[in-house]
Amino acid sequence: MKRKCRLILLIVMIPLLTSCWGRTEVIDIALVTGIAIDKGENKNILLSLQIAVPKNLGPQAGKGSGGSETTIVVSEEGQDIMEAYRQIQLKLSREVFFGQSNVLIIGEELATEGVSSVLDFFTRFRQPQLGSTILFAKGKANDKLNLKPQIESMTTEEIREQEKRGAGLEVKVRDFLTRMLADGDEPFASEVSSEPLEKENNSSDMVPSLNGAAIFKGDKLVGWMDDKESRGLLWMRDEFVSGAISLTVPGNEGGGQIGAEILQVSSKIKPTVSKDNVKIKVDSYGEVEIFENSSTFDLNDPENIQKVKKMFEDEVKERLELTVNKAQKELQSDVFGIGHAVYRSNPKLWNDMYKSKWAEVFPEIEIVIATEIKIKGTGFTNQSIIFSNQKD
């Protein structure tokens, strides 16, 4: 009995005697909602954290007088992220907590020099999530954190929601790193820029917008793609989510515009590999539904559908070629993962021949694109309204 009592006493004492524990109350942490990293002065790193301010976020927010910002941005320079983070910590009453950070924005200057040094922190430290979105900004990254949220309560939330909706390229830190480390694949990520809410109104508020892509070679930024090109990139990688495509009908066919929503897309990269050359054939397939028709085509007529189909196929092919051209010739970065496709089709040859000199081979290979578009529907109206008017 006495021994039992002692044992129970010991067990009860265990939790009380541990001096250091991981317990932190929610009200003792500074929730980081977004991180921006830029190049600072003297090879330093400028780390900016967007931190949520709970007292201004709740249903009672706005009742109090002034200081109703839902987030604050804190930044500090340091030789590495850890140092900057410690410096930031000195300025805050609550403990910095990276666990909920969803957005990581890296500035152009730092990205051009290479991102592996900063990304190491995100893989090593336990708090940041590898599932957070990685984005790149032309110019300074921390400007983007300072944008005033318009619809959501936080800027980073707006970026996240845009991304979820399918705007931009959905690239997580994890994906970025995998592509960076994989052979025959190069990383890319969305570009975040600030756009005015109203066009041609310079005084309107700026909001973050995801358009275009940052293209990497290894861990270094080599160039940017615009919105159109980055869509093509997604299409090539078979990751397309949703989007619209519109084509101008040439004058000899009656002119006008046809706009369609893209419902589904698939792409297959088919390499033909031999000892002395690599040929790539890309089979692209898409399904669209026409939502806008200001041309003279009567879409009830199967012949016209065939014509429109052909036009869409040409349009898509042109766009893909534009993207391929940009990546292959201009930026010389294999963001399509063609090297990986080559490896999969012939691993032995890849390892022996191409793995080491892929960077030189890639810009020279021949890429042929074949597209096929299926028109799944033509919307609720059959004929173009304009066309019917002309008949009367």
Partner: protein, 478 residues
């Protein structure tokens, strides 16, 4: 022997030429029957027979007293026993035998709906404090001579009657034997309630879980008897014990078997969910908000942070305050007079919850957590079992507060090992899940339709395994 007992009555009378005496306890005897069936025949003794005289007490038994249950004995001890248990004793001058006339009758409660186990669909009769009423409620449901009711007396002073009931051929003989032995071992001055017996025949006296079941519902007892359990009905209490008891019986309600099986299965799964909520919700909340903030969606964590912004206490302390307050309110609700009880507890909880949140002492998510937990604990059918879960919630909260989710899982694993070690009358407490018996799982996580549950639970005994004809599924062709 009965001096200083104001309730004992000695009624002297002449039966023919002999002097006699009736002894009984006032209040335990039906006065009407006493007058019409005992006193009247004895006093109006037929003249002719009077002349012949009474030769033996047996003659009286056979020809005079008109009540059904009459016995006789020559032992003095029997006389006192019979008087105390409510029988009337007739002694006649110069005759060695005493006649025990059973015209018991005392104030008793009518059969009412059991308060602790209410059903929507199902019989409304519940046990009363009267042993005979209770046995009759069971007997009326099973019209077979194989239903056995073995009577025993327990308690040195109380000499409480109890009846061990089982169905011969379905209950294992060894189980019945074991229950007999354990009850015979009891030597206590009084048994006031079934709880005394329960604690004295327990397999593991230190167990937090009840290892003997109890119920106020005769239909539940009969259901258990049909599965091979043994019931122990005890005088002076409406609670009947059922042994053995398994963990999963705490999820089963008699109503499960009366409703359509799809509804029952859904409700049963709901009970499992709420069982887990009742046990773990406050501790999960404490663990996640103080150790694992990264596990919550950002927006949820932000709302929590907003709600907790003004609260002065750590989450663990807050949870403890609220849980203790809730348990207090509950207990007060039980003890208060019935008319005000429920009103006071509900209003009290609302007012205290709302006021505490407004004053910034507790956060509103905590009130939601405690309220949900409270509701969850009422969903478990057995009152006693729900209490067990409620007690276990507190160590879980401490583990969560000290070690986070790691502590919670440590607690759950410890609890699981503990449950697996328990046995009730030799039956593993977690059967049929551990040890796994797949054929008996039809009545555990779901309630299979009756035509599919053709076997009795094997872990309670292998006798008469089939309870329904094979292929009994109804259909238009049958």
């Amino acid at each position: 022997m009965f001096e200083k007992s104001s309730d004992i009555v000695y009624r002297e009378l002449h039966i023919g030429n002999k002097k006699g005496m009736l002894i009984f306890l006032d209040g335990l005897v039906n006065q009407q029957l006493m007058d019409s069936d005992v006193l009247k025949p004895l006093l109006n003794w037929d003249e002719q027979e009077l002349n012949a005289g009474i030769t033996s007490i047996k003659q009286l038994l056979e020809r005079v007293v008109t009540t059904a249950d009459v016995t006789s004995s020559q032992k003095l001890q029997d006389v006192t026993d019979h008087i105390l248990s409510g029988n009337t004793v007739l002694l006649i001058d110069k005759m060695p035998d005493a006649l025990f006339i059973s015209i018991k009758g005392w104030e008793k409660r009518a059969i009412e709906q059991p308060e602790s186990e209410v059903v929507v669909r199902g019989p409304r009769d519940g046990f009363t404090e009267n042993l005979r009423t209770n046995t009759s409620l069971i007997r009326r449901r099973l019209k077979t001579p194989r239903l056995k009711m073995e009577q025993k007396k327990v308690g040195r002073l109380s000499k409480t009657d109890l009846v061990i009931t089982y169905i011969e051929g379905i209950a294992e003989d060894s189980l019945v034997q074991e229950i007999h032995e354990r009850i015979d071992r009891i030597d206590i001055d009084a048994i006031l309630e079934s709880g005394y017996i329960e604690e004295l025949i327990d397999d593991n006296p230190f167990s937090v879980f009840p290892l003997v079941g109890h119920t106020e519902r005769p239909d539940k007892v009969v259901g258990s008897l049909l599965e091979g359990s043994v019931g122990i009905i005890i005088d002076n209490t409406p609670f009947c014990l059922i042994a053995p008891q398994t963990f999963f019986q705490l999820i089963q309600s008699p109503e499960d078997y009366y409703q359509r099986y799809i509804t029952s299965s859904f409700i049963r799964m709901l009970r499992y969910l709420f069982l887990i909520i009742s046990l773990l919700l406050p501790s999960l909340y404490v663990a996640v908000t103080t150790f694992h903030q990264e596990m919550l969606p950002t927006s949820l964590l932000l709302s929590l942070a907003v709600a907790r912004e003004a609260t002065p206490f750590p989450a663990l302390i807050e949870a403890l305050i609220m849980e203790v307050a809730f348990e207090g309110l509950r207990e007060a609700g039980v003890r208060l007079p019935r008319a005000v009880g429920s009103a006071v507890s509900i209003v009290g909880a609302l007012v205290i919850g709302q006021a505490a949140v407004d004053a910034g002492i507790v956060s509103s998510p905590m009130v939601i957590i405690v309220a949900t937990t409270g509701i969850a604990s009422f969903i478990i059918p057995g009152y006693e079992q729900a209490n067990t879960i409620r007690i276990l919630r507190f160590p879980m909260m401490f583990l969560a507060g000290f070690m986070g989710l790691y502590g919670v899982f440590l607690g759950v694993i410890t609890l699981q090992i503990y449950i697996l070690r328990l046995r009730s009358f030799g039956v593993p407490y977690f059967s049929p899940v551990a040890p796994l018996d797949t054929t008996n799982l039809k009545d555990i996580f779901v309630r299979a339709p009756w035509w599919a549950m053709n076997k009795r639970p094997g872990y309670l005994g292998k006798n008469k395994a089939n309870r329904i004809k094979h292929n009994s599924r109804p259909g238009p062709n049958q």
